[in-house]
Symmetry: C2
Subunit: 344 residues, 2 copies
């Protein structure tokens, strides 16, 4: 490793003390014009730039935030990383990325590691599902006042800010759309154990109830992962057991490909034979002309990042129940058929 140039080298070359050189670099205090020019010349000549590590140790700030999430290969996740990194860059922050692969132990390990690294803040898309409990010895990691913002998923009862879509409302609206078109037996494909999905199911149920339909749990087909192959299998099973289904409502991304493949295999045409409504996967859905609930991931990332900055600067304090909702848009396309019987 090449010996790097320190502020001492600059000071020596400029013929001043380290303190004076530091004043020029940090642009504070009083420095005579003569000294300033000589230091600036030295900086340029040596091509000096401060060692960020030393600054971190001294200033107790690393100018780094961490994004901990399931898997960057997931399109929600990478869109989030993109948005966060863009926002962070503006303020001179770098972004460390950690994949939990939806494993809670790995998530905990990452949080610990990031704290040892004295990262200034953490944006967390937690792997915790609704029925998992934080063990007491790890509770501190989630509850401490270390700056941390939750995204997309919340852990109930934690004093933590959460940024997520208006899942209940958007799902209510999406379901209502299907109901209006006459669909009564709407199958769901989702990874049901996450808080986000629970919310979307709540919106679905609410809409059903308004139409005098009570929710049938059997129509909710769960996958254990965001895996097209599993989605395909689950779809097949759902259609076999419930031939009355006229529409499929997909609550996660990365699943619709599997559903489409299964429909193709069964020679079922989207829309004409079975209606489809999907969360996310915008690129794919555009291609297949599917009505889609499009989350504003860009905004979620931006808001999460800025909220984190506020926490870091002490301008705000995390509090339980603080949830910022970013509205999702429903893009109406051509995958939901009107099956109302015209009777007169």
């Amino acid at each position: 490793m090449k010996q790097s140039i320190t502020i001492n080298d600059v000071a020596k070359l400029a013929g001043v003390s380290r303190a004076t050189a530091g004043r020029v670099v940090g642009n504070y205090g009083n420095v005579s014009e003569k000294s300033r020019l000589r230091v600036q010349a030295a900086i340029k000549e040596l091509n000096y730039s401060p060692n960020t590590i030393a600054q971190s140790l001294r200033n107790n700030t690393t100018k780094t935030i961490a994004v901990i999430l399931g898997n960057v290969k997931n399109n929600y996740c990478n869109a989030l990383v993109y948005a966060v990194e863009k926002e962070a860059q503006k303020e001179g922050y770098s972004v460390i990325i950690c994949n939990t692969r939806e494993n809670i132990q790995r998530e905990i390990m990452h949080i610990q590691n990031m704290r040892n690294r004295h990262v200034d803040g953490i944006i967390l898309m937690s792997a915790f599902t609704t029925d998992e409990q934080i063990r007491d010895e790890e509770k501190e990691l989630y509850e401490s006042n270390y700056p941390m913002v939750f995204v997309d998923r919340k852990i109930h009862g934690l004093k933590r800010d959460v940024i997520m879509s208006n899942n209940v409302e958007a799902s209510y609206e999406a379901t209502s759309h299907l109901l209006k078109l006459g669909h009564k037996n709407i199958g769901i494909i989702a990874t049901a154990d996450y808080s986000t999905i629970r919310e979307r199911i709540r919106g679905y149920e609410k809409a059903l109830n308004e139409y005098g339909i009570s929710m049938n749990e059997e129509l909710i087909a769960e996958t254990t992962a965001l895996d097209p192959d599993e989605a395909r299998m689950v779809t097949g099973k759902l259609l076999d057991e419930h031939p009355e289904i006229t529409a499929i409502y997909i609550l996660n991304n990365s699943l619709s490909a599997g559903v489409l493949l299964e429909l193709k295999k069964r020679n079922l045409r989207v829309r004409d034979d079975i209606s489809l409504l999907v969360w996310d996967d915008e690129m794919l859905n555009q291609l297949f002309d599917l009505t889609t609930v499009v989350q504003s991931i860009d905004n979620i990332g931006k808001v999460a990042c800025n909220r984190l900055f506020e926490l870091m600067q002490g301008k705000a304090e995390a509090r339980e129940g603080y949830t910022e909702r970013i509205p999702a848009q429903i893009v109406y396309r051509n995958s939901c058929k009107n099956i109302n019987v015209i009777d007169n």
Copy 2:
């Protein structure tokens, strides 16, 4: 920010010197059994873990690598990040991610920033195109002996290791497949300015030549970005100007959606009306049953990461022309039609 626990606190509680406590933590030197136990007890009681920043300053190693790339939202990029992060994690390294958005100035800024942060090494998917020149004042950034591995794209004449697919061979094979099926006018959609794409075009040309066809530059339609909308437009233009085209060969990911949309608009059926062969976009292509050149991004990331470790440890030295080729697989599906005339 909460006052953190230092090794001094541990030493004090255990009733030993900082040096002895350090020996226990670092597990080196000789420590009496008695002292060891007391220090370990203190560590546990205080829940001590070392400050990584201080370690970095002292050891001149940050246990961090950076991945600098165009855009994590791109599927090649995020698969690369995933693979690198997984590999890095095994060795206790964290990964900082930087998006250049294919802007060279931003790339340079990132490299500088990462070096100031004393990141141990850099994996770079450079935004440099074939006709861009590195300015002299920035040359040092690319040519220094700072551990750095190029991925997917190379800058000619640099003393840098490159890890990439066997572009020429795979493209030769893919093109040969089309030629064997009787296609003579094969249109290309690609962002032609990157070294990778140039290589793929070389493979294409080589295959054509073997069939006694000389390459027609007009059949190569360039997009300026990995953008489906642009791909769509370019495809339209290409088809208008060259109705003789019987097959389209797409050399980048993120473009096929645009091509598919344009074909759909023109009521051209994939395979029956026009053959299609695509690099990457595996998920989408599976759905559309398209013959695909699948790069082994997982391996590329892994190899790049391990090569970087070797450079970091001084076990290897970067040298010009060192290019490790990871074979890409051609997955034959059902998007290329046999148009040979049976004449007898």
